[in-house]
């Protein structure tokens, strides 16, 4: 069973190289990333040698990896066929050999190997003497084994849920905290480190509570063996081994259950609505009502708005507490608008085959105007209050809360420009998308990179050009009294934005009137 499942995993990995160009590229990039992580982790653990906080930092590294093993399988559940026990449920397999086989399959591949190699950096950074070295090797093996069993136990327990619509929705939303952490590490941590606010000593004492977690036990066992407390180290390793055995037992129990159970939460799920809103607002209200419900129920929409907020906040974070804060605020306002345009530039492809439902009913230019205006209204209803809150929070952090009005004026114009542009691009550069396992949002199908880049470039350039008059208006009215300047700019931004959005709707409707069959063809090719 072990050999069979390991060969299955290797075959699945090899087949990734033979499938689509995108899958091949992802596989190659992932393998390169695993190699870089192995080297980076090994070096970063090795250079801890002699540092006061060495064991604390090692504990943090071990714990971070364990979190990675816990979260990532939930995101890539559909990508690794060996993670889902239901794929093996039809075969006459006994649970224990199956569990051992699945464990071996999990340990196969570039990432588990990268973990082992990277963690072996502790043999240089933390271990002292032959006994320390021996403990380091055993601790690394146990740590990786713990990560694998933990990941298997969690994915098996949640397998039924992760196969269901609700589970997939939940797994998709996990990208938001991960992306927020990534942005924090890329945008904020380097700045704080450069300013001397984060040093190695910042981690001192952090393991007062982490030393009793399984990753902490592994790291401290190496430290104990290297400082003449081999018995304590041995106790820690035995405790870690016992935790792994207990987790393994839990996992086998879950595996037994998962092979004969399905998730039924979606069977009982019902919405509380008593009908679509905007009953008396014609086609515009009908489309806006549907779009608003989608914004609420589609996880992709929540991910999109969440990503925009994180990007806007992180991009302006480096300037907020400097004299150039206003530039950061206005940049955040414009940046948000650009992303609204980029994320909606393929509105029809993203709608997918459901556009066919609308296409058989849309009649003429007037109905298309209402159609685009309805979609835009739903976007504006969310974007305006959301950006108002974000921009005023950023302005308050910058200690100039009233300047939030200036950023909002630019943002209102930008939202109008962004959604107007996205309407036109949705008709001129549509492309089919597909949902892929492991990716929380749909991606363009192979062969449409040109459209994706074209839409992104046009969105960026278009919003920047269309926003220039508004930014100039903010820049050259600094001498005007705030009581006049703020309301005047806000009103100008709103009117200008509304004008641009209306223009976008009219152009898009005129173009779409003759292109409905072609747009439908693209939408029907989407797999979402």
């Amino acid at each position: 069973m072990v050999g069979l499942l390991v060969r299955l995993k290797l075959r699945l990995l090899r087949n990734a190289l033979k499938s689509s160009r995108q899958a091949r590229t992802s596989f190659i990039l992932s393998t390169i990333a695993a190699g870089l992580v192995a080297i980076g982790l090994f070096v970063s653990l090795a250079v801890l040698r002699g540092q006061v906080a060495a064991v604390d930092l090692a504990t943090v590294s071990f714990t971070t990896l364990a979190f990675g093993w816990l979260i990532l399988p939930l995101l890539v559940f559909g990508l690794d066929g060996t993670l889902d026990p239901s794929t093996l449920a039809l075969y006459p397999l006994r649970t224990r050999p199956l569990a051992v086989g699945l464990l071996a399959a999990s340990a196969t591949g570039a990432w588990p190997l990268a973990n082992v190699i990277g963690l072996l950096g502790t043999t240089v950074g933390l271990a002292r003497g032959a006994l320390g070295l021996l403990f380091a090797v055993v601790a690394v093996v146990l740590q990786v084994l713990f990560c694998i069993v933990l990941a298997r136990c969690v994915t098996t327990s949640l397998a039924g849920l992760l196969r269901s619509r609700r589970g997939k929705d939940f797994a998709g939303l996990l990208i938001l905290p991960i992306f927020a952490l990534y942005e924090a590490f890329v945008q904020i941590v380097p700045r704080l480190t450069a300013e001397g606010k984060i040093t190695a000593n910042s981690f001192g004492g952090i393991d007062a509570w982490m030393r009793w977690t399984p990753p902490g036990l592994a790291a401290h066992a190496i430290q104990d063996a290297s400082t003449g407390h081999a018995a304590t180290g041995l106790c820690r390793l035995l405790l870690l081994a016992a935790i792994i055995v207990a987790l393994g037992w839990l996992w086998i129990r879950e595996l037994d259950r998962a092979l004969v159970t399905v998730d039924a939460t979606t069977q009982a799920a019902a919405v509380r609505s008593t009908g679509l809103p905007f009953a008396n607002r014609g086609l515009l209200g009908t489309v806006a009502a549907r779009c608003l419900l989608y914004q609420r129920r589609e996880p992709g929409a929540k991910i999109f708005w969440g990503l925009i907020v994180i990007i806007v906040a992180a991009s302006s974070a480096s300037t907020l507490l400097t004299p150039a804060y206003l530039g950061g605020l206005l940049g955040a306002a414009g940046f948000g608008a650009v992303f609204v345009a980029i994320f909606n530039a393929d509105a029809i492809g993203m709608l997918g085959p459901a556009f066919g439902f609308d296409a058989v009913a849309l009649r003429g230019r007037k109905s298309l105007r209402s159609y685009f205006a309805g979609m835009d209204l739903a976007l504006a209803v969310i974007a305006v209050p959301l950006f108002t809150i974000v921009l005023f929070v950023l302005a308050t952090v910058a200690k100039h809360p009233l300047d939030g009005f200036l950023a909002l004026a630019v943002n209102l114009a930008g939202i109008g420009a962004g959604i107007g542009l996205s309407n036109v691009l949705a008709v001129l550069l549509p492309y089919p998308v597909e949902k892929r396992p492991g990716s929380p949002t749909p991606k363009a199908m192979d062969g449409y990179k040109g459209q994706v880049l074209g839409a992104a470039f046009c969105s960026l350039l278009g919003v920047v050009v269309l926003l220039t008059p508004m930014v100039l208006a903010v820049a050259f009215t600094g001498h005007v009294a705030g009581g006049i300047r703020m309301p005047a700019l806000l009103l100008s931004g709103a009117v200008y934005g509304l004008g641009l959005a209306t223009l976008g709707v009219r152009i898009a409707a005129r173009l779409a009137e003759v292109l409905i069959p072609e747009l439908t063809e693209v939408a029907l090719r989407s797999r979402i």
Binding site: R165, T266, Q267, A269, A270, V271, R272, S273, G275, L276, A279, N280, L283, T286, V287, A289, R290, L293, Y294, R297, E298, G352, P353, A354, F355, G356, F357, D358, A359, V360, A361, L362, R363, G364, S367, I516, P517, E518, T520, E521, L524
Partner: protein, 255 residues
């Protein structure tokens, strides 16, 4: 023949080198229950997509109740309802919301849309699941709610692509009875299917399509010519004889 509801003349469509529809002529009378049957890849879905204004033909003319589909698409769309093979539905709306949306999209006032939606849900046996998301519906429920969406504006011509594919017998019976009632009022149905028994049972007119051409058409009796429709179909499009001679190991009596 009564007034022609669907008229197709010289319809052609190619995708690159492949000619999917190679010159189709059809005339379906108003009040007919017509079937379009053919093997996989024969051009059924492509033909229906062109007839419903969703795929631009290379050549040919299509009239629905006298309205030229490609000269005046808005007018033609007002007359038809469409149930595609792979139901293209808004998965994150409930069944009830989807039907109301379909009605309002067609210009029916909200109150009337809700009233019709409730009646359709009742007839289609979907009331217990009316508030569940379409994403959580079974194949049969999806087909039924798609049919309701296509009927809510009371079209004069209804196009259905494989309406009973993957549908359980109970749901199939519900759909069949609703369609029969619809045709009984003088409306027209054109549907594609692989299931000859179904076509034989409910249709009064059938066209057999193969390799993008109509190879036989007329009333059921005319097309089957004294045989079963299934046999007539096999005779017309040819069968692929392969009795699995290489599978000597298969079966209880094998070693």
């Amino acid at each position: 023949m009564s007034r022609v509801a669907i008229s197709v003349q010289g319809l052609r469509k190619s995708f690159g080198d492949k000619e999917a529809v190679a010159g189709i002529d059809l005339a379906i009378g108003a009040g007919s229950f017509a079937g379009l049957v053919g093997p996989n890849g024969a051009g059924k879905t492509t033909s229906l997509s062109m007839m419903t204004g969703l795929l631009r033909p290379d050549l040919g003319r299509i009239h629905i109740d006298g309205v030229d589909v490609w000269a005046d698409p808005p007018a033609a769309k007002a007359l038809i309802g469409v149930v595609p093979a792979e139901a293209r539905l808004f998965e994150r709306l409930s069944g009830e919301e989807l039907l109301e949306y379909a009605g309002r999209l067609r210009g029916i006032p909200a109150d009337e849309s809700r009233r019709r939606a409730a009646q359709l849900l009742d007839v289609l046996d979907l009331v217990p699941d009316a508030k569940r998301l379409v994403a959580d519906y079974s194949t049969g429920m999806r087909k039924k709610v798609a049919l309701g969406s296509a009927l809510i504006h009371n079209p004069s011509v209804l196009f259905l692509d494989e309406p009973l594919e993957g549908v359980d017998p109970v749901s199939a019976d519900v759909i069949r009875r609703l369609l029969t009632r619809f045709v009984g009022t003088g409306s027209t149905v054109l549907f594609s299917s692989h299931v000859m028994e179904l076509v034989e049972q409910v249709c009064d007119h059938v066209s057999i399509i193969d390799k993008g051409r109509i190879v036989a058409g007329g009333t059921i009796d005319e097309v089957r010519g004294g045989k079963s429709l299934h046999q007539a179909f096999i005779d017309l499009v040819g069968s692929r004889a392969n009795d699995g001679e290489g599978l000597s190991w298969l079966g209880s009596s094998s070693g």
